[in-house]
């Protein structure tokens, strides 16, 4: 960060400021002498006793420096005043000293002792300012003194002095780079500082001196993340930029599965994110088993390191900063580090910056342009913010145009083109030219509008402005080069234009086009040549050259008709005034007209003239710029600036995350990772025994609830047991737990006392056993160690401790002492794993996800479990769960009507990869007949207007008794109208129809609680439907509600602080309208259902469906 304002640029900048004054100074020698005189009275004034005189003198001296005049001969007089009591004088002396010390090293040394004294001053501000000036004096001889001073200041009591020490480090480094090693030591020390004041400055020093020593950051990483919000704004920028680089070296690419997941990234990714802990568990288990570990790891879904998450979470609020640099820093951090689904949050903040000063706009637009190439979707909602005003400076206009072009897609292209039309009329011709190029790019990128664009551009050919015409012709030329065969009519049209268009450049371009593609317009081309031959002598030179080219090309392809014409033109050219044209004519004649003399080249004339010219590529100049860290100077210039630190690629495998563990975690400062570990360990207890008062009682209830859940809910229960870890953190009682507690309490009251006693004793035994096992098990050591750590740190009350111990016991019990439950648990885990693998397969773009019903059911229950758990997790990423609940199958064709062929379909709720606006419908074909069915396909689709269908791939053969699955996509246009079509086999046709339940017309979206509230606020009134209901007796806990709602509609859950409310969000598949559902439960099963949706019809139907699901 060595930027300095020109006014303060002591090292040379000031000399240029005052140049004009120098200009007349040498003219009269007298001025020099008077200068000396003036200096004399300045010296007198400086020597006087009066501060006011000194001050006046110093002011005049500083004014001289500001004008670029040399005041160095005053050095001795000034330096004497360094110890002056008057603060303003002192400050001005400092200014002077810093400016001239390098020139007058010997004299400067006189002042050093004053500063050394200052360094010992009891006032921290004086110490700091002494260090600041001392370190600014660029005199090599005092390097050791500086070093000492910095070292001392680095351990000063006052954070302000330590901050100044951090600032002094880069100064010393630039003066003497040999001090690097010692300075790194100081940096390391200061990095460990816990105050916000120091953090920004020391990271700045780090970046300047040793940016490659990324290892110094490990131990301070979490602290920096947590302090960030309170650091002053400039420090924030530096820290965020540094942490971006750090994260790139230490964490895994969150979008690593991008290629697999493609479309539906959002939901799924967060889904995986939410079960991090559980996966870690799995990992450990795997280690235990040491079976197929490697293979699993490879296919294992991505798990975000909690430290990575910490960084993302703690930087997000800074998007609200008033400082554009901070906002940009966070934006680039998200762009480079966040999972694809989360990057979107930065768009709004960046768009906000567009209202700032034009310089800010310029930089932001450059970065937005780069971002839009990779993540177009993010800025699409803000399309209109990039509309251009006639008052924008040209450079801003062109950047906005770039962004608009990048944002163009099939849906918005018509609006964008309409905008472009108004731009073309602008007075700013550079901008018009850029607009025409933009239209060309839109046309190449979006096939649908290519013809429209071409037509529009052809019209522009008649524009009066030469620049416009030339640009249009060039762009048309490029467009036609891409697929000339399709556009022979445009070439014809352009041929006609030669009669009217007078702009030479345009005429030349048209002629080139006709010559190049003369085979596509075999009749017109010779005619054009005829006309041109007529007017040849009156044409401009560039046109003449192109006439020659045209003649040559025609001669080669169609010599019959054009031989004479060509000869004629060549003869005309032979006597032209311009030697270029004469040369060209001679050259062409030799090449194409076969004579005895003509050399070997004429054989290749065709190859020379009619070679296939490569189509020009129209692509954004911002393509691939993102290999530079966004927001950096290098990115802006698209060239590496000095001192630029490359943004490293993600590592293949994550380096050891434990390097970030701080040795002595204090309870209060303990970073989230440890907290989570703690959680992980304690969770099983809490979820079981939460809210119990006494230890004995809790022991009781624990065992009860455990047995209850284990026996009662079987595999599902075990799922909760192992996965509930995350939810513990929140520790606000979950409904589920409450329910369980209630149950257990009831049971408790019924149970005889002795049973609980026996329980206790058995538990004690367990405990002993567990301790033994602890010693035995070496792998579990690390975990348990941390457990102990955290427990001791936590300094919780005794009772809790004992409770937690009991919990451990319980857990172990579950794992060891109860052999029957153990296998079950493992099994489910295994299955779960398989399930996730299957899921992964599902996301592959190729159709026909092979999800068997068994797996579905299992995964559903597990996932809903997960859902319930992750919700209350406040520390983790706000996570949603991939929507998945029991897939209901509908009959499409009955066995009897289908003559043995039966077809069922279900809405798989997977994104339909060929078209995001379509709902994926999974069809299950069963051939119950005795003969094979062949050529199973669909025909004669009848749809309501607007609806679209993507057929499933034909099934060639379905042998007797076999089953098959296929996936088709239907765009229902957000209506529940049926899609009718014929299902055909090689022998028969069946009329069938698919009608979607309203809940399938949406896909889940991820919203945070706040976003949800905000969106809800915008969907009031007519868009809000509320209904009171009484919940079904089996559906009175959160868990069941979530399950039923997600079964009824493809929504994802929104995290919510209150346990009485469940919120869900989704978007309709076609229009993307938000659908927000809230279920608020009250006492006695009373509840209120509220649906907010812009599409009232959908809202109404959804309310009905959910109502039904919740009450039955």
């Amino acid at each position: 960060m060595s930027s300095s304002s020109a006014f303060n640029d002591e090292k040379g900048g000031s000399s240029s400021v005052g140049e004009p004054e120098y200009g007349h100074d040498p003219a009269s020698g007298g001025i020099f002498s008077s200068d000396y005189k003036r200096h004399d009275d300045l010296k007198e004034m400086l020597d006087s006793n009066k501060d006011s005189l000194k001050l006046e003198a110093m002011k005049r001296i500083v004014a001289m420096i500001a004008r670029g005049k040399n005041a160095s001969d005053l050095f001795p007089a000034v330096v004497k005043n360094v110890a002056c009591k008057n603060i303003e004088v002192k400050k001005l002396v400092y200014v002077y000293l810093v400016r001239y010390a390098e020139e007058q090293q010997d004299l400067a040394l006189l002042s050093i002792s004053t500063f050394q004294r200052g360094l010992k001053d009891p006032n921290q501000l004086i110490r700091a300012s002494a260090l600041r000036v001392l370190s600014s004096i660029r005199v090599t001889i005092i390097v050791p003194i500086m070093m000492l001073a910095i070292k001392e200041a680095a351990s000063d009591m006052s954070p302000y002095v330590r901050k100044t020490a951090a600032h002094a480090i880069p100064k010393l480094y630039s003066l003497d780079p040999e001090q690097k090693d010692q300075l790194i030591e100081v940096i390391e020390k200061l990095l460990a500082d816990k105050t916000t004041l120091v953090a920004g400055s020391v990271v700045m020093a780090f970046e300047e001196v040793c940016p490659e020593r990324i290892d110094l950051i490990h131990k301070n990483y979490r602290k920096l993340c947590n302090l960030l919000i309170d650091v002053e704004e400039w420090g924030q920028v530096v820290i965020i930029n540094m942490l971006t680089r750090y994260a790139r070296t230490q964490f895994l690419n969150p979008n690593i599965n991008e290629s697999l997941l493609e479309e539906g990234g959002g939901g799924e990714k967060t889904f995986y994110g939410s079960d991090e802990d559980e996966d870690e568990d799995d990992e450990e288990k795997e280690k235990e088993k040491k079976v197929e570990a490697a293979a699993m790891a490879k296919r294992k879904p991505y798990v975000m390191d909690p430290d990575h998450r910490l960084l993302l979470r703690n930087t997000k609020p800074l998007l609200q900063s008033r400082n554009a640099a901070v906002v940009m820093a966070v934006a680039q951090l998200y762009f480079h580090l966040a999972p694809k689904a989360e990057v979107g949050v930065i768009a709004k903040a960046l768009v906000r910056l567009l209202r700032s000063h034009s310089e800010v706009q310029y930089v932001v637009l450059q970065n937005v342009a780069t971002m839009t190439i990779k993540r177009r979707g993010m800025f699409e909602p803000y399309l209109k913010s990039f509309y251009i005003r006639s008052t924008d400076p040209t450079q801003i206009k062109i950047l906005k145009l770039e962004v608009l072009t990048n944002l163009a897609n099939e849906t918005n292209i018509s609006t964008i083109l309409r905008e472009f039309q108004t731009y073309i009329k602008s007075m700013d011709k550079d901008f018009v030219a850029a607009t025409i190029q933009a239209i060309g790019r839109c046309a190449t990128n979006i096939g649908e509008v290519r013809d429209t664009c071409l037509n529009g551009l052809v019209q522009l050919l008649s524009n009066r402005d030469e620049l416009v015409v030339a640009e249009s012709v060039v762009v048309i030329k490029k467009l036609l080069q891409m697929q000339p065969e399709k556009h022979s009519d445009i070439i014809k049209h352009m041929a006609k234009l030669t009669d009217n268009i007078q702009v030479p450049m345009a005429r030349a371009s048209i002629l080139w086009l006709i010559g190049e593609y003369c085979e596509h317009v075999p009749k017109i081309a010779p005619d054009v040549l005829r006309k041109m031959a007529k007017s040849f002598t009156n044409e401009e030179d560039i046109v003449k050259l192109q006439i020659l080219n045209l003649a040559a090309k025609l001669y080669l392809t169609n010599s019959k008709q054009t031989k004479l014409l060509t000869q004629y033109v060549l003869n005309l050219a032979k006597y032209d005034q311009n030697y270029d044209i004469r040369d060209r004519a001679r050259f062409i004649r030799q090449l194409i007209v076969p004579t005895e003399k003509s050399g070997a080249l004429s054989k290749y004339a065709k190859k020379l003239f009619l070679a296939l010219k490569p189509a020009p590529v129209l692509e954004s100049p911002f393509k691939d710029r993102d290999h530079f860290q966004l927001g950096s100077l290098s990115h802006l210039l698209n060239a590496k600036a000095g001192g630029y630190q490359e943004l490293p690629d993600w590592p293949e495998t994550a380096p050891d995350p434990s390097v970030r563990n701080v040795e002595v975690p204090e309870w209060t400062k303990c970073s989230s990772r440890e907290k989570r570990k703690e959680k992980k360990v304690e969770k099983p207890f809490y979820s079981d025994s939460e809210g119990e008062s006494g230890p004995t009682e809790s022991a009781d209830s624990e065992s009860d609830s455990a047995s209850g859940s284990e026996s009662g809910s079987g595999s599902e229960g075990s799922g909760t047991g192992s996965e509930s870890e995350e939810s513990e953190e929140a520790s606000v009682s979950e409904e589920e737990d409450e329910e369980e507690e209630k149950k257990t309490k009831k049971r408790e009251s019924k149970k005889p006392v002795q049973e609980s006693e026996s329980e206790q004793s058995s538990e004690e035994e367990d405990r002993k056993r567990e301790r033994k096992s602890k010693q035995r098990k070496s792998e579990s050591e690390s975990e348990s160690d941390e457990e102990e750590d955290s427990e001791s740190d936590s300094s919780q009350s005794e009772s809790e401790d004992s409770e937690s111990e009991a919990e451990i016991k319980k857990k172990k019990k579950a794992a060891e002492s109860k052999p029957p439950s153990k296998p079950v648990k493992k099994d489910t885990k295994k299955e779960k794993k398989e399930m996730s693998l299957l899921d992964l397969d599902d996301f592959e773009p190729t159709p026909s996800p092979q999800v068997t019903p068994v797996n579905n059911l299992l995964s559903n229950s597990l996932v809903t479990d997960l859902e319930g758990l992750s919700l209350s997790d406040a520390v983790l990423s706000p996570a949603t769960i991939a929507p998945s609940s029991a897939l209901k199958s509908y009959e499409l064709l009955h066995r009897i009507t289908g003559e043995g062929l039966s077809v069922e379909y279900c809405f798989s709720r997977q994104p339909f990869s060929p078209d995001a606006n379509m709902v994926a419908v999974q069809m299950h074909f069963t051939n119950n007949s005795t003969s094979d069915t062949k050529n199973l396909h669909m025909e004669d689709v009848k749809l309501q207007s607007g609806m679209r269908v993507k057929d499933f791939p034909e099934i060639e053969l379905l042998p007797a008794g076999e089953k098959a699955t296929a996936v088709m996509g239907i765009d229902f246009c957000d209506s529940t109208q049926a899609a009718n079509f014929q299902l055909c086999t090689h022998t028969r046709k069946f009329f069938v129809s698919i009608q979607p339940p309203v809940g399938e017309l949406m896909r889940p979206v991820f919203l945070t609680e706040n976003e949800f509230k905000k969106e809800q606020g915008q969907l009031m009134g007519m868009n809000e439907i509320a209904e009171k209901l009484t919940l079904d007796a089996k559906c009175r806990n959160e868990h069941a509600i979530v399950q039923r709602v997600t079964t009824a509609a493809n929504l994802s859950r929104v995290p919510c602080g209150s346990d009485k409310e469940c919120r869900f969000a989704g978007r309709t598949v076609t229009s993307g309208s938000l659908v927000l559902v809230t279920v608020a439960s009250r006492e006695e099963g009373a509840a209120q259902l509220m649906v907010n949706c812009e599409k009232m019809l959908i809202g109404t139907m959804l309310v009905k469906d959910i109502l039904l699901a919740l009450t039955q």
């Binding site: 960060m1 004014a63 554009a324 310089e359 008052t391």
Partner: protein
């Protein structure tokens, strides 16, 4: 080095078109253009350009704050103060104290009275005490502030940015707002400002004093205010809400295909003004370069046509709904020049007092931490921002 900046300026023609970042053989120049001045910083190494740009604007803001205006002559007259300021704001190229309150504690802004007193008594502009602001965890506020009249005023200023097309349809419209505060309260007051309809605020950015957490959870602005004037909040009103367009423009600007003249006829009328008076109405039209002069009659207000920049400016004043202002007449075009391709766009400036066009309302201001009762006031103003009518 600086030379290349002037070269770039010459090339661009308009100083606004000079790229903020220029590359010279050995240096990078990052500059801003404000108040007809370039503020340039020089760097040789990588630095986030916005970091520098933001800082330069902060410098210009500080000058504005200290000297009342930010112009060449003012900076020349106050070189010493400028030097002192920069000395405090930067250390070795890294921003140090950019908070106006902290700076004012160290370097007092010059006033006429003080300079007179200083010359008589030999006092100085530099604070006698060392600054403590940098040390506190509320660096934006000085300690020991004392006022006899304790007052807190908030101005809610909203600007409508809009593009209307030829037919008057809104192509794009949005509302930006800021809350400018003038808080003169003794001690360390802790203020809470709440809104009737905070949901309107879509995208906000705060002064660092605002507690982000409370905004997130309760949608109230809770803060210990800086002393004096500051911008508390800037916001954007969610684009889903329809933006009320206060005026409509009926316009007809045409140039004849042959002959060297054109016609202009503009009428402005109120549209959605919520019953308030539209004031300071002003119309600016940058005419095509080929327009030589205009000959117009305004039914209200006065018009001027700048012959060099070709900007037609019509200052209307208050909009009278009973008698709509109209400007009509002929334009003389350079003979022989082709008919201008584009009709000029019309830029409108206006002001509506006592109205926040988004409907935002401050509900209450509470003060904690101090005993006295402050005077409180909220003022609403709506202005046209970048309000453009395409023709």
């Amino acid at each position: 080095m600086i030379h290349s900046l002037f070269l770039a300026k010459e090339k661009a023609g308009d100083p606004e078109n000079v790229a903020p970042v220029l590359q010279t053989p050995h240096h990078y120049l990052i500059s801003i253009y404000r108040d007809k001045l370039f503020f340039v910083s020089v760097t040789q190494t990588e630095v986030p350009p916005l970091f520098v740009i933001e800082f330069l604007h902060r410098v210009a803001d500080t000058f504005q704050d200290y000297f009342g205006e930010c112009s060449e002559s003012v900076i020349k007259d106050n070189t010493v103060t400028v030097y002192e300021l920069l000395e405090e704001m930067l250390d070795n190229g890294f921003p140090l104290a950019t908070e106006s309150n902290v700076l004012k504690e160290m370097i007092r802004p010059p006033t006429i009275l003080r300079s007179v007193v200083n010359t008589l008594t030999g006092g100085s502009n530099v604070g006698g005490t060392l600054p403590t602001g940098q040390l506190s965890n509320v660096p934006w506020r000085r300690v020991g502030v004392k006022y006899t009249n304790n007052e807190a005023y908030f101005d809610v200023i909203e600007e409508i940015d809009a593009i209307l097309d030829k037919s008057g349809t809104t192509v794009f419209a949005e509302i930006q707002g800021v809350i400018e505060a003038c808080v003169k309260l003794s001690g360390m007051p802790d203020l809470t400002l709440s809104f009737m309809n905070p949901r309107l605020l879509d995208d906000v950015s705060f002064h660092p004093c605002v507690r982000f957490k409370r905004w997130e959870s309760e949608r109230v602005l809770s803060f210990i205010p800086p002393d004096g004037n500051f911008r508390l909040l800037s916001y954007h009103v969610s684009s889903q809400n329809l933006v009320a367009i206060p005026v409509y423009v009926k316009q007809n600007i045409s140039f004849l295909e042959t002959g060297s003249c054109g016609r202009l006829d503009i009428t402005i009328g109120p549209k959605q003004t919520m019953g308030k008076m539209v004031e300071s109405l002003m119309v600016t039209i940058p005419m095509p370069k080929s327009v030589l002069n205009v000959n117009l009659i305004a039914t209200q207000g006065t018009y001027t046509f700048d012959l060099s920049t070709k900007v037609l400016l019509w200052d209307i004043g208050k909009l009278n709904p009973q008698k709509l202002p109209n400007l009509r007449g002929s334009l003389s075009v350079q003979p022989g020049a082709p008919k201008p391709e584009e009709n000029p766009s019309i830029n409108i400036d206006l002001k509506i007092q006592q109205l926040a066009i988004s409907g935002l309302k401050v509900s209450r201001l509470d003060m904690y931490g101090e005993k006295y009762k402050p005077f409180k006031g909220v003022k609403y103003v709506t202005k046209a921002g970048k309000f453009q009518v395409r023709t």
